[in-house]
Symmetry: C2
Subunit: 353 residues, 2 copies
Amino acid sequence: MRALRRQPVDRTPVWLMRQAGRYLPEYRQVREQAGDFMALCRNPELAATVTLQPLERFDLDAAILFSDILTVPDAMGLGLYFETGEGPRFRHPVRDAHAIDALPIPDPHQDLGYVMDAVAACRSALAGRVPLIGFSGSPWTLATYMVEGGSSKNFSVCKAMLYDQPQAAHRLLAKLAETVIAYLQGQIEAGAQALMIFDTWGGVLDPIRYREFSLAYMERIVSGLRATEQGRETPITLFTKGGGDWLPWIAETGCDAVGVDWTTPLDRARAAVNDRVALQGNLDPCVLHAQPAVIRTEVDRCLREYGNGSGHIFNLGHGIHPDIPPDHVQAMVQAVHELSPPYHDVPARTATP
Amino acid sequence: MRALRRQPVDRTPVWLMRQAGRYLPEYRQVREQAGDFMALCRNPELAATVTLQPLERFDLDAAILFSDILTVPDAMGLGLYFETGEGPRFRHPVRDAHAIDALPIPDPHQDLGYVMDAVAACRSALAGRVPLIGFSGSPWTLATYMVEGGSSKNFSVCKAMLYDQPQAAHRLLAKLAETVIAYLQGQIEAGAQALMIFDTWGGVLDPIRYREFSLAYMERIVSGLRATEQGRETPITLFTKGGGDWLPWIAETGCDAVGVDWTTPLDRARAAVNDRVALQGNLDPCVLHAQPAVIRTEVDRCLREYGNGSGHIFNLGHGIHPDIPPDHVQAMVQAVHELSPPYHDVPARTATP
C-alpha cells in the first residue's frame, strides 16, 4: 500500500497477476471440487480458499480476488459459457445500437452479489495479513468480448463498430464505465483495499482510438471512484497491455499506479510518467520458464531498471502461465526480497509537482 | 522503387501485405484448383497467377511474391503441414543443441527451387508493369515456429530457449540468417527487385532480447546482402510488428525502409528514424472492415501523419484479413491515389546526414 502511494518502503513489494491459478496443484484440486471455473467464482468460500493459496506458498505482499473480468457482461445478460479449448464465449453478443440500449446496468449487490461475497470472504480470511486487491476489466476490454462474442484474434467486429457506429460504441462503453464504477465501489465496500483495472486489449488500438474508446472510459471510472470518500482513499492501478507508448496519458488519468508490460523497460517507463505514479511490473512471464539462476538475474535487471526509491510494485508483465513450476515462482519472490532492499536505502525521490 | 530510396515521386505508392489472398474470390478459386496452400506455393505458374490477381483489380504499385515464410524451415527438414483450424505445424520441432547442429542449410536452387521458379514466373508475367517484392521471415520469427512446432500464444518454449540455452539459440539464429541470405540472394537473381523481411514476432520480446536475438540477425542479413553488387542495389524493408519503440535501432541496420504497425503514428515514426529510411504503413487492417467513407478519412489521416515529401510507401500495418470486401480495398487504393499528390508538391526533405 505504501509503494502504491510512493511512500518509503524497506523492500520492493511483490505479487503476481493470476497468482491464484492453474500452475498450483492445490488450485486445480479446488477447481475440480467446484466443478467448473465459473462455479468456483460463484462460490465465495472456495474463491477465498484459492485466493489465499499462493500466500501459503510464497511470501507475497498482496492478494488479488479470485474472479474473472467477464462476470460483468455475464451479469448484463450475455450468457457466459466456456467451450473447451475455445476460451470464454457469450450466447448473446451485442452488435448494434438496439442491443446496446437494451443492456441493463447490473446492480453489484443484486446481480453480482457472489463477487461481493467473495471479496468479503477473502478479506475476512486474510485477517489483515496482506491487502486485498479488487479488480475489473476496462470498458473497452469488456466490450471486445461482448461484441465479438468471445476471444478474438483480429478484433474485426468490435473495431468495425468503432469506425462505423462510433456513437453506439460510446453508448456501450459509457454503460460499461457506469457499471464498473458501481462494481468496484461495491468491492471497496465489501473489503477491497486497492483496485486494478485490466485493459488487456487496449494495445490493439491505434493511439487515437485508444484515447477515445479505452483511456477516456478508464479515466471516467477513476473520477467516478474518486467522487466518494472511500474511493478517494483506495489506490487504483491501470494496466493497458501493449500501452508502453501511452504511459504519460495513462498517468494523467488520476490513477495511483500504472502496470507496464515487458516490452517497455522500467527506467523508460519511469521517465515517461515523470514519477507521478507508481509502476507495476514488468518481468516477461516467460522468464518463469527459465532456470532459477536466470530468474534471479532477470529480477535483478528489473529492479535495477526501476532504480532507487519507492513506487515500484514488482510483478509480471502479464498473467502467470499455467505451466510454470511453483518453485520458479518461489525463486522470483525470494530474489525480489533479497535483491531489492539496497534500492530503498536511499531517500525516495520526491514527485515532480 | 523511388519512394523506397526517398527520391521524389508524384504520389504515394501503395500495396498491401497479403494482397494476393483469401479475400479475393479469384484467389480462392485457384487455391481450390491447386489442392492446398503449399501446393499453390509449389506451383510456379499458379503462384504467379495469384501474385498478379490483385493488380488486375486494383491500381497497386508493387507485387509481392505469393509464398510463405515457412518454406525455409520446411526446406530444413522440419516437415511443414497444415492442420485445419490450427494453422501451420511442424512434424519435427527443433528444441535442443543437437537438433540445431543437425539442421542443414538449404540451397535455394536445389531445396527451394520452386520459390526461385515462382519469382521468375512472377517477374516474367509482370513484364515490367510494377516491381516485384521478394521476402523472407526473420530468423527469430522462423525460429519461433521451428522451436514451438507451429503457431504459439505465449512463445514459452522458444523464449525459455533464449534464457536457458542462449548459445543454442544463437547457433539456430545464425544458421537461419545464413539460410535467409542465400534465399533472398537467390530471389534477387531470379528477379526480385525489392526485398522485405517479416519479423512478425519480434514484438513479443523485451528490448534486450529483441536486439540480441532478432534485430542482430536481421542486421546480419542486410550486411550479407549488401556484400554483393546486386544485393547492394536492392532495397530492403524490415518490419517488426509491435516494434514501434525500436524504430531507431531498426533504421540503423542499413535497411532502406522500415514497416510500421498502426500503434505508432507515422509522424512519430518519422521523427524516430530521423528521415534516414523510408517508412511503410500503417493503416490498421481493421479499418478495411469499415465503410468506404471511413476508409478514406483514415487514409487521409495516415498520409497527413507522414507529411510532406517522399519516403512513404502506403500499406496496412499488418496483412489484410481474409474477410475484407474487395471494394473496400478499392476505396483505400483510390483514396491514396487521390489524396496523396499534394504531399509531393513540395521539395522532399533532405535526409539528415
